[in-house]
Structures are given as C-alpha cells and as structure tokens.
Symmetry: C2
Subunit: 213 residues, 2 copies
Amino acid sequence: MTITITAFERSPDGGKGLARDTRVRWALEEAGRPYEVRLVSFKAMKEPAHLALHPFGQIPTYEEGGLALFETGAIVFHIAERHGGLLPDDADARARAIMWMFAALNSVEPAILDLVIAKFVEGDKPWSKERLPLVVDRIRDRLRQLSARLGDADWLDGGFSAGDLMMVSVLLRLKPSGILGEFPSLAAYVARGEARPAYKRAFAAQLAVNTAG
Amino acid sequence: MTITITAFERSPDGGKGLARDTRVRWALEEAGRPYEVRLVSFKAMKEPAHLALHPFGQIPTYEEGGLALFETGAIVFHIAERHGGLLPDDADARARAIMWMFAALNSVEPAILDLVIAKFVEGDKPWSKERLPLVVDRIRDRLRQLSARLGDADWLDGGFSAGDLMMVSVLLRLKPSGILGEFPSLAAYVARGEARPAYKRAFAAQLAVNTAG
C-alpha cells in the first residue's frame, strides 16, 4: 500500500529540515520504505479537509490504506513497529528505545518549544529580552542531564533506534541558537545522526521541496 | 515479577492526583496489575541512585525484573502493550490509540506546562501578569481543536484506551485553573475518566500517601 505523508508547501525554516515531516521522512528512509508527499499550504492546513486528518491543523500526517495518523511520535513509532531498523528485537531494549522517543517529545522538546515561543511568538513583547535567559537556562538544565546520561556512548541505549531518531531531531531545533555547541558530546551525537545516509536522504528531500522554483 | 514504581514522598500538589505517578497507577489499575511503590524525597531525586533510574531526576520510574523505565508515556505504553484493557486489538485502532497518547504529551501538554511555568516558576517576575493571558489563549486554542475532534463521543476513538488515559491526565492539570470549565464537552470527558473505578483506586492510593501522618 502506498504511504502518503503531508509536508509544508513552504516550510517556515526555509528548508533547514526542522519541520516535523523531516522526522517522518527519516524514519521511512531508515526503514527503506518509499513514500509520497502531499504539500499543504498554511491556509489549507486550517481547512476542514486537513483538520479531518489532523485536528490541530499541522503537518505531518500519514496515510496508508485505511489508516490515517497525525502526531510525529505516533507516525515514527508506527513505522518503527512495522519495519526493521528502528527498534531492537530484545523486549527490554525495545521498551527503552520507546522510552527515549517519549523522553525526547515530553521531557526535552517542551523546553525547546518554549524557546521558539520566547523568540518568535513573544519576540516583540516588552519582557522578551529579560525572559530569554530563563528559558535558555531551563534548556541547559535538560541538556546537562541528557549529556550526563549519554556519556561516551554513540547512541542512547546500544545501537541507533527510533529513540535516537527522535532525540536527534528534537536537539536539531537548537542548532540555530548555538546552545547545542555548549555541550560537545550532544553536538557530536546530533552530528552522528545527521551523518546517517537515511537522514541525508530525508534532509535532501525536504530541501528540494523548499528550494523548488 | 514484582512491579515497583516511584512516587513523591510528598507531592507538590498535596494529593490532588496531578503528579505523574497517578497516570502510571491508573494504567496499572486498568490492567489489573498489583504494584509496589517506593517513595522518593525531593533531595533523593537529584542523587546518583535515582538519577541512574531517571536521568532527569523525576518520578515516576518503573522496575520489573531486569527492566527499568522512566518517562510516564513509555511506562503507560509498556503496561498497555503487555496487558489487556488499554489498547484495542485491531491494528489500525491500536495505532490511533497510541497516536492519542503522543498527542496528549506532545501537542496538548506543552501548552499546559507553560501555564505552570507562567504561574509558579515565573509567578514573581514583572511580566507575569501581562504574559498570563497569552499562555491561557494558547491553551484555549488547543482545547478548542480537541473539543471539535471529540464532538459528542465518549472517548477519542471508540472505546476507552491508553490515549484517553493520557489525555484525561493531561487535561486534569487544568482543573485548578478553571479553563477546562470553558469547554463543557472536555470537562465531561475528564469527568468520565475520573469516574472509572481504576482511576478512583489510583487517586485514592496517591492521596493516602500524601495525607499520611
């Protein structure tokens, strides 16, 4: 069955790969699954046809036969569960890989989303300049803890997994800010993710959309 | 094998059930699994023994034989995957239930966490009063979308699932704020969750810890 995902017609990041469709593209590339992409404009995202697929009016979505999913974590998990290469076979190791997916999305990403709010959504507010250091310090706290857990390892728990795919994707959002550079082992971890051929293919595919004439 | 979870020795909410151990207790009660609880002080949470279990120094954790997990979403998913009552048998319906777990934690909870930051972490800052309405409006946007999707249904997708357990748990955090009351269908949805015998047992268990002399 054909897999169809949605992506921004034009990503707000101009093709830096930070839009969430890159995460799904990456998972599909790791799993070796071909897919089609339907591009959606900002306007169309808030219209009934797209809201029927994604109640929060965002991208990506995932359609395969009669199944329609939204929410990047759930889509990546669905791909990981059905195809090889993203979850270990051992039951306990598999549970820990899934744990890191949730940790990326619920323990690390919220602090990073707050930076997006502070910089862009509330960037013109009178408190913006004074508040930013507090937001950044909360991110540093998390990165310090994550860096301590990663230690000298290449990946969070044994071999590369969907947990690493998600954590690297979340940390990539920090690249423009420079904060990631304060934690060399995490910067190297992210670089290992970016060096994977599957990531490179996913990045190139989203870039092609965003630089098309 | 014995299941052991961790919980606050004294929850910051004084027993309102908003600490994340309640989510895990609820899942275990739905699954009909007995469990033991090890209480952890705020001080002990930041010490090496606990950080080895939970790199972000929080509760709950989950131990069963050789498996140790942190991250509530992952723990609830692990319980749901191994026992009946929390995930549908049909593959597509199961994927959608998991989708709602991720949606609760990554699309709904971050906006609500921001309210905690605005009220408590930054409550004494000069911008606190002026910023709060923006934070609340972002929550309202999400609740409006969620309410539209829920419609007249009892649960998010067919019967009660781990997705509802997580969404109800996330929405419960809004109860003290009064925002939930602006969306009667969501307030009724949360009340349906709270009315489940398994939730009541979970709530009573955490309350007993927090009101013990």
